[in-house]
Symmetry: C4
Subunit: 233 residues, 4 copies
């Protein structure tokens, strides 16, 4: 059907950016793009190399995870995407990668400390790392529960997914999202760069201190506050 | 003879992927591809730069290491390949590189700990590092004994080469294999990426803990178990 | 107006070098180029991706920060550039990036120690890292005060901006400058490389010592002294 | 004169390989190529960017350092090259870079330990790091004395420049050489790769042990000994 063509094309282009930005090798990641009016999202098919992708191969799924269009099996992470779209009602795209530096922080089960303005330009808190999931969640509906783990982490920490558009799942890897595919992919790349910088910062000074509040607020406000003056609006 | 043409072409293409994937510089690696019906494998000629390779330059050897076809001398590691093909009767391709991060773990004589799902997507145990070889083995038939060291390491640790398709030889470098060339090269690249992530994980937390059993099982089963749902089958 | 065309073209070309040299991702940096006779400089527009830049999109600003030509909003860092041009009366170009290794040193709030001749070929002292700014400066005219922080750092340390053409702002990121755009961009790239080498040096020997005076003087003099013999003059 | 054309072309091509192999940025390195019958070598002109090089711009110099042909000033390191050609009478090419990892070891003033077979495939000892030069040598004929420092380091350690074709000058950077340009450039790239691997090895195990003698001997002999069987000759 042609009605899903726009999100299929958008998802295809966004998926192709992941290897171009150095965020994935082989099939280590996936992007989905949602259309809220249609109640559906398009996502990468499972295990298909990026070089073999095409817009019409993107699988269209509803927010319960039911396939609406496409002959290929959708990404094995589809239920995680579906739950996030269902609960976070105004995000338009989700990116999951195993990008090297962000994944290392996830494997170490540590939040990424806010050490500089590069980080503060994008969010005002440490990048959260959700705890590894309970055994019960893992043996249950694993990918669906991964979505729950992400949402519960944000609830417990009183974080707003509009302000914090990236996070780590402990022992696993990063997720990022945004209002559209360009923003979600941007966030995934920023997360990887900030993860590398934070690792290096601790290498140079193992007792490096977090950025002070005034500087966090300033850098965030000039880009995201009501009086922001970054960009062209 | 034309009967070896298929494995020569496959071996040529696979060898050319090593520099493209950043796994080798100059002549630091080799791939072989076997045809079980013909009882033979094609392997890179020794010391020839990748840019000068061609399918017809691949040397064809039997599983005792005897050259069947080709005017060039085969890779100096040929007897290691031959022994692995002889003992592990259903592998179709072997890759040997000196890729940077995997080689560093081999030089440190350490297994690569299973820290995350990226690792568990491919195997359920630490990536084994065989002990450096005994002086007797080294001064003997060195490359043949390297094959024995690999096989003995798997026997002692009760590992199955179908489930663990990558390993390190202590003080030396990595080996990977698979049912065909694409899978063997894929495994060599995954090993390098997992080696880099594991190093970074210990940098970020020197006391990082291994992935718990339930998560290892889940990630492995969804990709490799009887009820796997990753990929398109 | 055509009178600003030369600096717009120069600023465009210099900005395009930043991603080519691996110094920025997305919009993480900006270059400006000044014309002293015109009392103006051309600078990257704020938040515009490098791929969408063009000479005519470069915004022309005077040394008080007032826009003279251009319909786009100039870089949010414009007032920092303006103040440096005003106070340092013979620099012709300024580069600001968030390049990975230099930014990590800034986040660790450390000067980059002079460990080798690569560093001494360019300056004879540690690369200075200005202290993070006071809360008062941050909530005030932030970008203007960033310029003051840089200038005050040089005054306090009795450094000459002709001899030291690169520095870090604590918790933030690097700045570099030079007589023209080519030199300023060169300095930004040298800073990143020296930052990486210094980090590695401390990794290899945490107690590594600074270069001795005689060697610093020799390497600097052969390139910059009155009897210099490096290059073609 | 046409008689120097061969070494000029060879030096040009070898110099162009340095940025292609990631061993230099900007003008951070130089290659020379000698013709023993002509008693001359061709070397990169000083401070000229690689993109502007051409065979006819290579400067021809004798083994005392006197320019024989060329209108440009030769590399500032020319006297180091000249002395090495004069004293080591059968090397055909010399490469000097400031490649990142090798330079970091030089800045830490440490020999690069022999940790694996990648190293042993090329030399049987730690890669030597000459002590920083005395103040007297530095204020004297610096580049000439750099050559002396290299030669004296080899004498003191009883090393043979035929067997050890790479080294570090403390606080400075690496030098490599070989019978021809291809071998010298190869050695410079191998040195950088081995330097990176050795750094990583110590990161993974700070107490990593050197390769044992039997393995060093085996890997060296199979590539370089009288009964070598690596390569095609």
């Amino acid at each position: 059907m042609l009605k899903y063509r726009t999100i299929q094309e958008s998802a295809f282009e966004a998926n192709m950016q992941l290897p171009a930005l150095g965020l994935v090798i082989f099939t280590f990641g996936n992007v989905s793009v949602a259309d809220r009016k249609l109640g559906a999202f398009a996502i990468k098919p499972s295990g298909v190399p990026y070089a073999e992708l095409a817009p019409e191969k993107m699988v269209v799924v509803d927010f319960e995870g039911k396939v609406l269009e496409g002959t290929l099996r959708p990404s094995s992470d589809t239920l995680t995407h579906a739950l996030l779209y269902k609960k976070w009602t105004d995000i338009g795209s989700i990116v999951h990668t195993h990008s090297t530096y962000a994944t290392a922080w996830a494997q170490a089960q540590r939040d990424i400390p806010i050490f500089g303005t590069t980080h503060a330009d994008h969010l005002t808190v440490d990048i959260p790392c959700a705890a590894p999931m309970s055994d019960k969640m893992i043996v249950g509906n694993y990918e669906f529960e991964t979505g729950n783990q992400i949402i519960n982490c944000f609830k417990q920490r009183k974080l707003d997914y509009h302000n914090v558009e990236m996070m780590l799942v402990g022992n696993h890897a990063p997720f990022a999202w945004g209002k559209n595919a360009a923003k979600a992919v941007y966030n995934a790349a920023v997360l990887e760069e900030v993860a590398k910088m934070a690792w290096l910062t601790e290498q140079i000074d193992p007792k490096a201190k977090r950025l002070k509040r005034s500087l966090i607020k300033k850098h965030h406000d000039r880009k995201h506050g009501p009086d922001s003056y970054y960009g062209q609006n």
